[in-house]
Symmetry: C2
Subunit: 134 residues, 2 copies
């Protein structure tokens, strides 16, 4: 797996728990600690919730993971990747990525405010196509 290298790069030991955690986050796309714990318990019945907490926090600090906040939900973790926009459906709960460039926005925000920016979080809420029909 490529996550083996990710962990080695950050000098974290490659444990089965960590690999499963990363693979599950990748598979889910965006997931909170509770859901992650519930899923990991299937393959690791003895896994501790504290291990999940510690690992996601640690990997967030090391920028292996990114975190997003959708209104009224717990923090959602995802594999860190290029900055992107999040679309969250209020009905079905789906969160999906949109690879829309926000460089222009960042750039103009910088020049207008004088800030030197290094991070962006954009979360848009509404109804996804299928929930509009239903």
């Amino acid at each position: 797996m490529e996550f083996t290298q990710t962990l080695r790069d950050q000098e974290l030991k490659v444990t089965p728990q960590r690999l499963a955690l990363l693979e599950e986050i990748e598979h889910a796309g965006h997931i909170d600690v509770d859901a992650l714990y519930a899923i990991l318990k299937m393959s690791f019945p003895a896994i501790s919730l504290a291990t999940v907490y510690k690992n996601v926090s640690q990997m967030y600090e090391l920028k292996i993971l990114e975190v997003i906040k959708v209104p009224d939900r717990k923090l959602q973790y995802e594999i860190a990747k290029a900055p992107h926009i999040h679309l969250a459906c209020d009905q079905c709960g789906n969160v999906l990525d949109m690879n829309k460039c926000i460089d222009e926005l960042m750039f103009s925000a910088e020049s207008e405010s004088g800030f030197k920016l290094n991070h962006s979080a954009v979360v848009l809420n509404g109804l996804c196509p299928s929930c509009q029909s239903a």
Copy 2:
């Protein structure tokens, strides 16, 4: 005060605690529950933390307040107003509003994704002008 009318419009009783809470949020711009509680205790030594929690939650549901999440900080409440962008300084902690229009972004996100959007949250992080000098 104009917050008297705000509360009446939402059929909330106009209590001194609520008025002070709203005035302090307005004054602070963006503030979390703990800081709000600490400040309100100065004028209301007997105020309960649960009252602060209940009121901000209630006012958020009624859309009197809006909430924002700055990475690595507790939820910050503000008086609800027109959608705007948030700039947060990682050094000094300042959070300021930027009245930049994101309608174009919302509109193109809608047409590209098929979502029907009703809310946006944009938080940009970096260093404010004065923290860059220091």
